[in-house]
Subunit: 367 residues, 2 copies
Amino acid sequence: MSQIDQAVTIELAERSYRILIGDGLLADAASYAGLPRASTALIVSNTTVAPLYADALREALAGRYTQIHELHLPDGEEHKNWQTLQLIFDSLLSNTCDRKTTVFALGGGVVGDMTGFAAASYMRGVPFVQVPTTLLAQVDSSVGGKTAINHPLGKNMIGAFYQPQLVVCDLAVLDTLPAREFSAGLAEVIKYGPISDMAFFDWLERNMDALIAHDRDALAHAVRRSCEIKAWVVGQDEKETGLRAILNFGHTFGHAIEAGMGYGVWLHGEGVGAGMVMAAELSRRLGLVDGEFVARLNLLIQRAGLPTKGPILDAADNAGRYLELMRIDKKSEAGEIRFVVIDGPGKAAVRAAPDSLVREVIDACCA
Amino acid sequence: MSQIDQAVTIELAERSYRILIGDGLLADAASYAGLPRASTALIVSNTTVAPLYADALREALAGRYTQIHELHLPDGEEHKNWQTLQLIFDSLLSNTCDRKTTVFALGGGVVGDMTGFAAASYMRGVPFVQVPTTLLAQVDSSVGGKTAINHPLGKNMIGAFYQPQLVVCDLAVLDTLPAREFSAGLAEVIKYGPISDMAFFDWLERNMDALIAHDRDALAHAVRRSCEIKAWVVGQDEKETGLRAILNFGHTFGHAIEAGMGYGVWLHGEGVGAGMVMAAELSRRLGLVDGEFVARLNLLIQRAGLPTKGPILDAADNAGRYLELMRIDKKSEAGEIRFVVIDGPGKAAVRAAPDSLVREVIDACCA
C-alpha cells in the first residue's frame, strides 16, 4: 500500500535517526519497525488532526504496544504553553507510563515541539517519534531535535535539544492541510535555497505551481531536499553553537512579527515569509546581495501565497517596536541582535547590524 | 583565606567538570576561575539561604560579570514545582538574560534541582554552577546532573540530565545548617558504604560522632569520598540506563514515604534513612545479607539522627499503599517495582521482588 520513497538520515552518533518520506506511511506498520521495545505508547495529537489520523496511527501501532493511550490537545500556537504541556505530563503519569513508554507526536509544529519537550522532560527523557502532519513540520520543525514551549515574554524560550527516534513524513496527509498552512510550510522550504542551495531555489521557481497543486513527485523532492539540507546543518552543529543559526534566516524578523501581533495571529511561516524579505533587504543594504536577488525571493514568496510585507506593530514607532522584540530573541547576545543575512545567494552568515540601518529596512518592508 | 582541600572531577568527555571541596570557597573569587565568559549572571537562592550567603557570592562574582541578578525562591520541597520554576524563567526573561548568562544555584537540593532544570531549559540550555549549602546537596544532589521538579503524581517526574560547569562545596556553610537537615544529608553519605565501599562504612562507624560535631577534617573526608563514589558511578552511566540506579539505595521506599506523607513532611534524607533499613531488610529476606549487616546499618542510621522505621501511610492497608506509591516510581517498568538491594555488603544490585515479600518487609519496618 504505502511506499517509502525517500529516507534521509540525521547523523548524530548514538542519537542518529531516520526521516522516512513517502505516500501512506502513517498508516503502515512497517514504518515503525525498529523502534525500541516498550509495552506502552502515548499518541499526542490535537483536536483538529486526531479525528483525521489518530485511528490510522493507532492501528498501525497496535501490533507493537500492549497499551496505546491518546491525548488530544487544543489546537493552535496560543496553546503552546506550560498549561498545555502539563496535560501531557498528567496523561503520562495518570496512565502510569514508564521510562520506556514511547511518545508519538501526531500533528504540526506546535504538537511536535510540545510533545518533544514533554518526552525530553518526562522522567528526564523517554523515546519519542515525530509523525508530522503539516508541511512546515515535515520540512523543518520535526527534524533536528529542537523542542520548546513559548513564554509570555518570548517564543520557544523554554525547551530542550532532544532528538526523536524516527520521523515519519507521510505526503498523503498534506491533502487535508488548509491552503494557508500549506503556504506557511513553503516559507521554510524556500528558506533552504538562499542559505545553501541556489539550484534548489531555481527548482522551486520552476516547480512552485506544481507544489501548490500538491503534485506528489514535486512534494517528495521538496521535502527530501529540505530534510537533507537541514540534516547536513544539524549534523554539524546539533546545539546551535554556530552554523545551525543559518536555519533561522527570516526568523529574527519573523519572531518579532509573531510576538508583536500576539502568537497565533500570524502563522509562523507567514512571519518567516515577510521576515525573509526583510532579511534579504538588510543583506542588500549591507552590500551582500543585489536588488535582483531580493526581487526573485520576493516573487517566490508571493507565489507561495505568503505575505511579503511585515505588519505595523506600533503606529507611533514601528521600527522601535520591532527592535525591542528582536533584542529578546534567543540569538541576541548582551542585547545585540544577531541577524542571519545572505552573504551572496546560496550562502548565509550571522552578523550584527546598526540600528539605524535596521530601522530603514523595517520602514521599507512594512505596510 | 579559603583553601581548596579537595577537588574531584566528574569525567564526562566534553561535559566533564570539577567539584571543589574546602573551607571558605563560596566567598573566594578564585573558586570561579575558568567559568565561561559572560556579561550576566543570575544567582538563584531561597529566602532562608540568601540572607546568609548571597552577598558573599555576589562579591566573589563581581569581577566576572557586568550584571548580577538575584532571585530568592520560597524555601521547601513543597515549592519544588512548576509555579516556582516559572519564577526563574520570568527572572531570566525580564532581565533579558541571553544564552551565555550563567546561572548559579545557591542552596540545597531543591534550589539546585529547580535551578538546574531552569538552566537546562532556558533557551534550551545556559551555563550553570552549583553552590550547594546543605550536606545532602554537597554529597549527592548537586553532583551528577540530575535536575527536576515534582509533579502532584510523583517526585522528580519532570526534569533533565544537565551537567553543571562547576560545583563549589564550601564546608563552612554547613555550620549554619539545622541539625535535622544535617542528619538528612548523612543518609546520602551512609548510602555510599553498603552500595560500594564497606571500608568507608567502617570509617563512618568510627567517625559518626566527629561528623555530628562538624569536625572539619571528618567532613572534608566524608564529602570527598561521597563525591568520588558518585563521580565514578555517574562517569560510567550518566543517564541511568544501568549502574547509576544503585545510587537510589533506600530511595524506592523513601520516595513512597515522601509522597505518602505529602512532600516536605519528611525530609528526603529521612525517607532515605528509613528506606535503607527497609531495603536492607528486603535484601536479608532475599538471602543476600545477614541480620548482623542490617543491625549495623540500622545503628549507624540511628546514630546519624535519622528515623529507622517508616511511617504508617494507611491504617487500613499500609503495605498496599507503599506498593501503590512505589509502582509509579521512575525505576518501575510496566508496573514492576525495581528495588536496589545489597548483594553482600559493599555491592548493590537492582531486582524485582514478590509483592508478598515486600509486604512482610513493610509490615516489619513501619511503626
